[in-house]
């Protein structure tokens, strides 16, 4: 810990120089020599039976080397073993506009495009549903035959005595909050490069994946290939945020084209297609009801969530479970009833996005809590403080809370923002609001439960003294490989420059469950420390032999092995390695990490979702200016504090916090997907507006360290927990600024203007009523 404690500014990313010099190769930058060009034909219809996909004219076009339809896709896929209902290319039916129906590989892009235009696609259209309530209507046609009411999954969980809780509450209020669907909008468009060698029957796949293991597994499944014949390599990846956790249709299609063509196929999706591929946060309606005592204590919570999930299952079951499960774990809640409905609709499938499942529910909860505190005359900070948890504890739904830094987060942002002196004293049109949030540090129970450890890291040391860590964990810009390097270097007492990290290549690195649910720091970090400790033990023993001391007398630090009792008796790291290699040769050690079963959630159905070894906690204050004439909201400043347990790399932690807050701001202010009869009308960076540098405020990010008992060096996650508190803090700030309560996200000028008009109408009516008295 000494070294980590000594470098509290943190270190740059180990692959940062590649990124700033342009040397970093992303999928579209790989060696494409000899590659055929892959293109996908997409459905023009929202919901239809496929009568005919005739590719004969396209097949005869010179230069076309492979052509596929749903007929070539026999095996369905999906991220959840219980809900695989999607094919790489549609079979039987299409269920959303833009769904892939055929694919072509050709000698060049022009030929591929021409080939697509020659494919004849004939359908019988079916009624289509673009809103959850239409899809749930009694007479709605089923989008999937096995799902009556177009209900993918409903969840009903009750913990504690909810009725009694409301009965003892002094104030009970209910709100309905709507949150628009949003998208990850990572800047790198989707791309894949697949190479099939017909002579060996081997497939090499390079793609924009966050979870190469899922990709590997689904390739084997859908191509009906032996897993051992497939190699998956992750190049540099230009952001993910959840978009690339699930295996995506174009990845499978690219591989199938490569096999059909007997060669290399490159697939680059346009930005529009990247948006259509989607898998992001669904449009959500939340009805939330809270019971609060005059003392500010929460007595009961009731919450109903309806998510419009899109056309396929994807992650849907998990998302709707998270939305309820993570009502817990932030505050001390004595009674919670949750009803969740995940609904199919004829739109691109939703999936996991930063803060998976928790963001919109948290928004609604915090917004209502803020309004009720106001009604009771309680300060928003105070009402949170009266409901804090005390670690270690377990929530009603059996989530383990092992460390809890929320109280300190509250103190920090309250002080930094000048809340006590400024709140309520700003001029009209300016306001302050606050809110809290949390997130898991890795799902304690992986989706594909195999009994294996949750993470494995190999560390190799060789005659040259170099240390190489091998991890399957996908660095997608979050800095996970740097975290592994720090963990290994720190444990071995080496400078970080002496450790290389090889990541996410199935031929060389151990399997990893991938970059999702903020699991890497906690799980892979612990596995890396475990591996490095094992190596340190071997090297310590070898050094002890060389120094003729007992291993217990040897200390490993600063690149040297020293006798603790005999000053001056020491050898360098390199000498210790040479000593260890005698009789053994090159050393490779393995470290693992496993979440114990008691951390894996309750026994109720779906109880594993939300379970984790450690929650991060965040509080933030948002300052806004509101222009009542134009409806424009300006975010002037944000103060945020995040309890990440321990900041292994404070530089990266700050970067993650800032990014999460900002992404929350995008969703809160302006981002939304919009469909016109199922046509994506938002599928560009012009219509899908993420904030520019001119829309983005300074963010004061503070790190709180609660030192988690199980985290690597005490660390927890840092990249998701701060996202969900932005939007409710913004809505509270708007209320503070102009006395308007917004019930919809995003807070675009039109929605703000609508709320202002409604407030003025109310004021006029109040004035009239007052005048009559």
């Amino acid at each position: 810990m000494t070294k980590l404690a000594g470098t509290r500014d943190g270190v740059p990313l180990i692959d940062g120089i590649d990124k700033v010099t342009g040397r970093a190769r992303y999928t579209a930058d790989l060696d494409h020599r000899g590659a055929f060009v892959g293109r996908i034909l997409r459905s023009p219809c929202s919901h239809a039976q496929i009568l005919r996909v005739d590719v004969e004219r396209a097949r005869r076009l010179p230069g076309v080397v492979a052509i596929l339809t749903g007929e070539d896709c026999r095996v369905p896929y999906g991220v959840l073993p219980i809900a695989m209902n999607e094919y790489p290319l549609a079979r039987g039916k299409v269920r959303y506009r833009g769904e892939p129906v055929a694919a072509v590989a050709a000698i060049d892009a022009e030929t591929a495009a021409r080939a697509l235009s020659l494919i004849e696609f004939e359908v019988r259209e079916l009624p289509a549903y673009y809103e959850a309530d239409q899809a749930r209507a009694a007479d709605a046609v089923r989008i999937h035959d096995d799902k009556p009411g177009n209900l993918e999954r409903e969840v009903h969980h009750t913990f504690g005595d909810v009725a009694a809780g409301f009965a003892t509450a002094d104030l009970v209020r209910e709100e309905v909050i709507d949150c628009a669907e949003v998208n990850h909008a990572q800047i790198e468009p989707h791309a894949a490069l697949a190479e099939f060698d017909p002579s060996t029957g081997r497939l090499t796949m390079q793609s924009v994946s966050q979870v190469t293991f899922y990709l590997h597994m689904m390739l084997a499944r859908c191509l009906e290939m032996d897993e051992s014949r497939i190699r998956v390599i992750k190049p540099f990846v230009g952001g993910g945020f959840g978009a690339r956790v699930e295996v995506l249709n174009f990845e499978l299609v690219t591989a199938m084209l490569a096999r059909a063509a007997g060669g290399k196929v490159s697939m680059e999706l346009s930005r529009e297609e990247t948006f259509i591929t989607h898998r992001a946060r669904p449009q959500t309606r939340i009805r939330v009801k809270l019971g609060l005592g005059r003392d500010g204590r929460l007595r009961a919570c009731e919450c109903e969530v309806v998510q419009r999930g899109g056309a396929y299952a994807g992650y849907g079951v998990i998302t709707i479970l998270y939305a309820g499960s993570l009502l817990h774990g932030l505050y001390d809640l004595p009674a919670v009833k949750y009803d969740g409905y995940r609904v199919y609709a004829n739109l691109p499938p939703c999936g996991a996005m930063r803060g998976h499942g928790s963001v919109d529910t948290r928004h609604a909860f915090e917004v209502l809590l803020d309004r009720m505190a106001r009604e009771l005359g309680l300060d928003p900070f105070e009402v949170r403080r009266r409901n804090l948890l005390h670690a270690p504890t377990r929530t009603l739904n059996e989530l383990a809370i092992n460390s809890y830094g929320l109280a300190e987060c509250l103190d920090r942002v309250e002080a930094a923002s000048g809340w006590r002196t400024r709140r309520g004293r700003l001029p009209r049109g300016k306001g302050l609001g606050m809110a809290c949030s949390h997130y898991v540090s890795g799902a304690a129970k992986p989706i594909h439960w195999t009994g294996e450890p949750h993470a494995v890291v190999n560390v190799k040391v060789d005659w040259d003294g170099s240390v190489t860590a091998f991890t399957g964990a996908a660095d997608i810009g979050q800095g996970s490989s740097t975290m592994v390097a720090i963990a290994v270097a720190e444990t071995l007492g080496l400078p970080i420059e002496q450790v290389r990290v090889i990541a996410a290549d199935s031929a060389t690195t151990p399997k990893d469950n991938g970059a999702y649910s903020s699991r890497i720091t906690f799980m892979v970090g612990n596995a890396a420390i475990d591996a490095a400790r094992r190596l340190r033990r071997l090297l310590t023993e070898a050094a002890a032999r060389r120094l003729e001391r007992d291993p217990a007398d040897i200390d490993c630090a600063d690149g040297r092995f020293r006798s603790l009792s005999a000053a001056g008796r020491e050898i360098s790291f390199g000498e210790a390695v040479k000593a260890a290699l005698v009789d053994q040769g090159t050393l490779t050690v393995k470290g693992t990490f496993t979440c114990p079963p008691d951390a894996q959630g309750g026994k109720h159905r779906g109880g594993a979702v939300g379970s984790t070894m450690g929650f991060s906690y965040a509080a933030q204050v948002v300052e806004v200016s509101v222009d009542e004439d134009t409806g424009r909201i300006s975010v002037d400043r944000v103060w945020v504090a995040l309890d990440c347990g321990f900041a292994i790399n404070p530089l990266a932690v700050r970067g993650q916090i800032e990014g999460a807050v900002w992404m929350g701001m995008g969703q809160a202010l302006m981002e939304e997907t919009r469909y016109l009869d199922g046509m994506p009308a938002h599928a560009s960076f012009l219509e899908y507006r993420m904030p520019t540098s001119l829309d983005s405020p300074p963010i004061d990010a503070q790190i709180v360290e609660s030192i988690d008992p199980n985290g690597p060096f005490g660390a927890k996650e840092a990249s998701e927990g701060a996202l969900a508190s932005f939007a409710p803090a913004l809505v509270a700030a708007i209320a503070d600024a102009i006395g308007v309560d917004l019930d919809v996200l995003p807070a675009t000028p039109d929605r703000v203007l609508d709320a202002v008009v409604a407030r003025r109408r109310r004021e006029r009516l109040d004035a009239l009523a007052g005048g009559g008295r």
Partner: protein
């Protein structure tokens, strides 16, 4: 008036790329970004959108940062084009590259080349810009990772590090 090159649909174009003159047969309809990535093999310049919406492809044309997806390659005849690969000399990092690396101005790194070239264009015109000027100069370059906080810090750090 009607120019035509030796190859049907293509013409020889001389462009100074990162300080070296090149001469390539270029199709009239080739975008500068495709010329750089495919003809010149300089894949540091990225594509993030379907045209003019993200700034990832920003390069310097005669010292001015412009989106290379909104520029025809044939239009660059006789002009100087600089990409991320042209910054820094002799294996040493340019001050913006060093600052973006050390201050974590790059997370996933995909917007980084365009962002750095936009910043370099600013610093050539305005050696000591204010934060507002930095934010304005980068307003056509989208980043999805950083919230721009560490990008602005990186540009400031580069200014302080001097040329």
């Amino acid at each position: 008036m009607f120019e035509s090159g030796p190859v049907p649909g293509k013409r020889l174009v001389r462009i100074r790329v990162n300080g070296r003159w090149r001469e390539d047969a270029v199709a009239d309809d080739q975008l500068l970004v495709d010329y750089l990535r495919e003809t010149a093999g300089l894949t540091g310049t990225k594509t993030g959108c379907d045209g003019g919406e993200c700034g990832a492809c920003t390069v310097l044309v005669d010292d001015e940062p412009v989106p290379s997806c909104l520029t025809l390659a044939v239009r660059c005849e006789g002009r100087s084009v600089e990409t991320i690969e042209g910054l820094g000399a002799g294996g040493r990092l340019h001050r913006l590259q060093r600052a973006f690396h050390e201050k974590l101005g790059a997370q996933c790194g995909y917007c980084t080349p365009g962002m750095i070239m936009a910043a370099e264009g600013l610093l050539r015109r305005r050696p000591d810009p204010s934060e507002a000027e930095i934010r304005e100069a980068l307003a056509g370059n989208l980043c999805r990772c950083t919230g721009y906080v560490k990008i602005v810090e990186s540009v400031r750090a580069a200014v302080e590090a001097g040329a």
